[in-house]
């Protein structure tokens, strides 16, 4: 059959490389109505050379492969199973001084003979030398002023008008937790309260968004972080319960609770403290102190319950008569405890601050049974060993010195801070720090002569007994309108930080100047001297 090249759109002449069309052939199929004759014709070949492709490449396709396919199959594995037979490390033997019988004492004596003269000479020179008088080295950047690092708050709690009742730093010093409640409510309100924690080391810290929030059924009045677990925290409630939460579990933070049993406190719990267990010092139990006069020791048991292991009750008739106390109203036998502090030197010795305004020295090892009719599953003991001379009003806070075994501070509603020695009933120093109440007092963990107090006038007052024994060294204004500061805590890991919580619901983290964080050369001796001013 012949191919017909149709003229028409291809008939554009004059374009380079345009096809040379062979046209030809009779136009035999033109128009209807004309019977055309079909003729056989051979026409030329029409070729259209490509405008874009130069040379046609070789096209190839795979037909067959000469190498045979490799067949693989798993035959066996070379790894052997093994079991531990023995460990090569030995338990470390504590290095101690060698027993003298194994020495060559003659050589030792010869050595000492050789060096003694030189050492004595240097000791004498040192004692008389003034070479280093007034010489101080600055290792860290000096911070001259006290500045506010963070202002933390939780708007839903502030919206309900809740106060910050308690603050605690965790064991690593990077998380600060605060409890929201109300300190001036006298009724058994069922206002929900919160425990909020902020991780200050986290980047992108939002001061209005705590990293963890836990709701509590009743106002939380006190908090204490676990001494070794960074996320466990215990809290005491207005209802008398003690709860332990794990702040790292947002979906179910409650670990243990005392529940409302016969053993639970019947009055608000004002302070909780973690104590090491007597036999296993890596496990801890919780001590709670309430105004019903009971001091209770709880241990986490099964099923999320806190079991009572030991209990003490403060009864007026069993208080030692070291000082003359006001006669209590008839019918009241319990002495309400509002604050507790443990001695850092003797773990069984603690000081209780009471509603009557007098601190009481107590011991966990007391044996005498308490004369109380309060029901309890564990026999209650009377812990009091010594009573100190009272303040003019209830005590809100006590703190034992971390540097001296006999000194402790107490502060209360009379606006005075008393420095007591365990050896005598009268205070060594009595300072009026405020014309309103004092809500918290804490010794500094690094400077033996420094303490801080939270006042009802809205200030945090820092006292340096080395500089002045009359007036505070620094008074930091926390609230603008003078609403009280209820709690404060030093950070024992990052010693320049001090956190304080106030009645407006904010927690401020203050960075202290270097003068409050660096120990001077003779501070411990000065403290000893202060403690020795006990009247004989």
């Amino acid at each position: 059959t012949a191919t017909r090249a149709q003229p028409g759109p291809l008939g554009r002449a004059g374009r380079a490389g345009s096809a040379a069309l062979a046209t030809g052939g009779a136009a035999s199929a033109k128009g209807p109505g004309r019977p055309g004759q079909l003729q056989d014709e051979t026409l030329g070949v029409a070729s259209v050379p490509s405008q874009w492709r130069g040379v046609q490449g070789i096209r190839g396709e795979t037909k067959s492969c000469q190498t045979a396919g490799i067949a693989t199959a798993e035959a066996s594995a070379q790894a052997r199973s093994h079991a531990d037979a023995q460990v090569q490390t030995e338990a470390p033997v504590p290095v101690s001084t060698l027993p003298p019988s194994r020495l060559d004492t003659a050589r030792l004596a010869a050595f000492l003979r050789r060096v003694e003269a030189m050492v004595i000479r240097e000791l004498n020179k040192n004692w008389q030398s003034h070479a280093f008088d007034g010489f101080e080295v600055n290792w860290t950047e000096q911070q001259q002023t006290v500045s506010c690092l963070h202002t933390l708050c939780y708007p839903p709690a502030q919206g309900q008008g809740l106060h910050v009742t308690s603050i605690s730093w965790n064991t690593t010093g990077s998380v600060v937790a605060c409890a929201y409640g109300r300190l001036d409510d006298g009724d058994w309100s069922t206002l929900k309260s919160f425990v909020c924690a902020w991780n200050l080391d986290r980047r992108g810290l939002n001061p209005r968004q705590p990293s963890a929030v836990v709701e509590a059924p009743s106002a939380v009045l006190c908090l204490a972080f676990h001494p070794t677990q960074p996320s466990h925290i215990a809290g005491g409630l207005y209802s008398g319960e003690v709860l332990v939460w794990d702040m790292s579990r947002p979906e179910d933070p409650l670990l243990w609770r005392t529940g409302l049993t016969d053993d639970t406190h019947t009055d608000p719990v004002y302070q909780v403290v973690w104590l090491p267990e007597p036999r296993q010092s890596h496990r801890f139990q919780v001590l709670s102190v309430a105004t019903d006069g009971k001091v209770l020791l709880w241990q986490g048991g099964g099923a999320g319950r806190l079991q009572l292991t030991e209990g003490f009750a403060l009864v007026v008739q069993q208080l030692p008569r070291s000082t003359k106390l006001k006669k209590p109203p008839r019918g009241e036998t319990e002495v309400g405890a509002t604050a507790v502090a443990f001695s850092s030197f003797d773990p069984s010795l603690f000081v209780l601050g009471t509603e009557g305004g007098f601190p009481v020295k107590c011991s966990l090892a007391a044996e005498e049974a308490a004369l109380t009719r309060m029901p309890s599953s564990v026999p209650l003991r009377a812990p009091a060993q010594f009573t100190f001379s009272p303040h003019g009003g209830p005590i809100y806070s006590v703190s034992c010195s971390p540097f001296h075994r006999n000194l402790f501070l107490s502060a209360g509603t009379d606006g005075h801070v008393h420095l007591y020695s365990m050896l005598q009933a009268q205070p060594l120093i009595s300072l009026q720090l405020s014309y309103k109440y004092l809500f918290a007092v804490r010794w500094s963990p690094v400077r033996p002569l420094v303490f801080a107090a939270a006042s009802g006038e809205g200030d945090v007052r820092l006292f340096d007994l080395q500089k002045s024994s009359q007036k505070p060294t620094i008074s930091i204004k926390q609230t603008e309108d003078g609403s009280p500061v209820y709690c404060l805590e030093f950070n024992s890991q990052q010693t320049q930080l001090l956190a304080a919580g106030d009645a407006k619901g904010t927690v401020k983290v203050w960075q202290l100047s270097t003068e409050f964080t660096e120990q001077g050369p003779r501070e411990t001796e000065d403290l000893d001297q202060l403690a020795a001013e006990v009247a004989t």
């Binding site: 290095v95 101690s96 001084t97 060698l98 003298p100 019988s101 020495l103 004492t105 003659a106 050589r107 030792l108 004596a109 050595f111 000492l112 003979r113 050789r114 060096v115 003694e116 030189m118 050492v119 004595i120 240097e122 000791l123 004498n124 040192n126 004692w127 030398s129 280093f132 008088d133 120990q519 050369p521 003779r522």
Partner: protein
């Protein structure tokens, strides 16, 4: 007289083995006296003798503090000695003093022992 050789004056047949139990012999008393003298000096908080391996032999402080001081100062003394000898091979360390805010630590080094004294100089 007989040809018997005179015996040397009475000595133990194996002189290099000493009795185990320490009597209060001369060297022992002298060691205690010297250390007591040093301890009673003005301002001295404590002293200790450490052997060449860094193990404390005598001390007036409690065990854990002693072990800490001994280990750390032994290393520091070795480093100080090598520093001095690197700068001048003919030189050697005779005494090392570290002054800190709270007190001064003095180390008298020797081939076999170290004497460490901690003093609180009057400010």
């Amino acid at each position: 007289m007989g040809g018997r050789p005179s015996r040397s004056p009475a000595r133990s047949p194996l002189p290099h083995l000493r009795p185990i139990a320490p009597g209060l012999g001369e060297p022992q008393a002298e060691v205690e006296e010297t250390l007591k003298r040093i301890q009673s000096h003005k301002g001295v908080i404590g002293n200790m003798v450490v052997n060449a391996e860094g193990i404390p032999i005598r001390t007036t402080l409690d065990n854990s503090t002693t072990v800490q001081y001994a280990g750390l100062l032994h290393q520091l003394t070795t480093k100080a000695r090598s520093t001095v000898r690197d700068i001048d091979p003919q030189n050697d360390l005779t005494f090392l003093r570290i002054r800190s805010k709270k007190h001064e630590i003095m180390v008298a080094p020797d081939k076999e022992y170290l004497l460490i004294v901690i003093q609180n100089p009057c400010e």
